[in-house]
Symmetry: C2
Subunit: 342 residues, 2 copies
């Protein structure tokens, strides 16, 4: 099969890889219908994280082509959505809603779903089948549910976005924009998107943002305070992962408020004394997308949300190099890769 | 009046200070019946925090001797308990339960309650009167409610201690021990006290600890994991404030679990990537003791809890220097200072 390999920072190649096979009786094999490039894929692409001839990709929707002997909840032919961590969905941590930290979790990044086929470990716990084969226009949204929507949703839940709350979102990538959508769906009263790009501001407004703040850092914090009687937002979602954005999130939150952080942390060192006196709630990490998948698929299926709007560029798998370049240069918010054309 | 002054690290003196007077119509003056030395007073005593001829003390119970024109909820003669932050208890932050971050908060440490009298700002919001003059044996417990009990209680609430939960407590000072009591009252199933001192272990068991772990750091974490099927505790209360104890608390908590941190942070720098993948909830800060005071006073009044047990030494105010020394040398868990004898 064809699959994306990152040989070194900036070097993307679509190569022949071995077709995946069932290795455990709990595995399934899927024909990947659509996959995509994640903001986190840009860290190795930019040389900030190490990479050496690695298969890439951890987001996926597709059709089941084969199942192991112990798989019972999905069958050949099902259209399925899964997340970037395979999980058994039965252990105590999964049952508490933290499938991304399942005691048997397998990172899909190591498997590499930017490919024609993928092996999905722990298929019963990982995959959720759609009610039937989806209409083509739903595929981008279902793919978004696989990571960026589920991650933005977790950020909003971790920040306790809800009725009566003022929510601020730090970061205008796909996750930040979909955190706006999640906050809206969760009933937030006011949603402040922090963005300085007009196209992303427009999408944020479409998703439910009531206010836009263009300032960053201390100026951004001051602006949030100004909009909230000097108190700060009730809920702030951090969707970047840098020290600056994390501090911006904490400082924008009122005492007793909630920070939901879903940006993969890079250079963050939180000063204990400031955190102590900030008196915020802090929660986040790799999103347990599986917790939310059934509900998200349902909302998409009923066409109540359209998270697929974050894909502003779609290219065939063979043009993966262009997909990475477009994301790296911020020409695209998020790029979908399709496998059904050569 | 007499009052404690710390002239420099290690130098405690009981000096003549001006009698406090009503400065704002919302003030009250109390005759301090009992006050005490806080673990946080040891930071300047040990030269870790700056100090220069400062009045000391922020914990107090006493009898109201004078009230400003606008004070309506307490009257002359009432026996009252207050906390280390005066708060209006009416602003939006107070109403959300974060009185320690009241928009008008006044730190009582600057006023110095290790004295015969004290001015209490925002008396209506700050003070809670007991149903009548308390029996003498209740005074230590009411004084404990002023800070260490309220702080331990907040730690347990922030850590979401409750039925079915395994709770671990890092720190065996008065706050840590009373966090054990709080976890017990909140219905926790299993309470692990981390302590290597037999007298404190005994008090932890009296307060409700079901297990004792003597190990610290990585060994302590391993022991907590061993006691919790390898997962970590649901709820961990951090009651020390050092980097080591904070990391011990985070690493002892299962994914999705809750860390309640109430130790005043000193050398803490939280590594963002580890915090991200730990996927815990983190909440804490200066305890909003006022939120809990009515309930705590009620429990003490009914003699359902006896938090005054943490005072294992009582001396007259004039012997404050001995009180500081006993705490510094860990000869006493917590020292009460009384003002009614010379």
């Amino acid at each position: 099969m064809r699959g994306v390999i990152m040989d070194a920072p900036g070097e993307i190649r679509v190569a022949q890889r071995d077709d995946p096979t069932i290795q455990e009786p709990t595995d399934a094999i899927i024909k990947v219908v659509a996959t995509c490039v994640c903001g986190s894929d840009l860290w190795p692409y930019r040389g900030i994280a190490d990479v050496d001839h690695a298969p890439m990709g951890h987001e996926y929707v597709g059709t089941v082509t084969e199942v192991g002997d112990e798989v019972t909840t999905v069958k050949v032919g099902d259209f399925v959505v899964g997340s970037f961590f395979a999980s058994d969905n039965t252990c105590e941590i999964c049952r508490a809603g933290y499938q991304s930290r399942c005691v048997h979790s397998v990172g899909m990044g190591g498997i590499g779903t930017q490919a024609e086929y993928a092996r999905i470990p722990l298929a019963d716990g990982t995959l959720v089948a759609t009610p039937s084969a989806p209409d083509a226009d739903l595929i981008p949204s279902l793919l978004a549910a696989s990571d960026v929507l589920g991650t933005g949703w977790f950020g909003a839940v971790a920040a306790e976005a809800g009725p009566g709350k003022t929510v601020a979102v730090v970061g205008d990538g796909a996750v930040g924009l979909l955190a706006v959508m999640a906050a809206k769906q969760l009933g937030a009263q006011r949603i402040i998107a922090m963005s300085r790009h007009s196209d992303r501001q427009a999408l944020a407004r479409e998703f439910g943002a009531t206010d836009i703040v263009e300032e960053r850092g201390d100026e951004g914090v001051a602006k949030i305070k100004e909009l909230t009687d000097g108190l700060g937002a009730h809920s702030v979602i951090e969707a970047v992962g840098t020290h600056e954005s994390m501090m911006q999130a904490i400082r924008s939150t009122r005492p007793g408020g909630h920070v939901g952080h879903v940006g993969v942390s890079h250079d963050v060192e939180l000063p204990g004394l400031e955190l102590f006196f900030a008196e915020v709630h802090l929660h986040g990490g790799p999103a347990p997308v599986r917790r939310f998948l059934p509900d998200l698929i349902d909302l998409i299926w009923k066409r109540e949300i359209n998270p697929g709007r974050v894909f502003d560029l779609t290219v065939p798998l063979d043009q993966a190099a262009e997909a990475y370049q477009a994301m790296d240069q911020r020409r695209a918010i998020k790029v979908m890769l399709t496998t059904d054309e050569r």
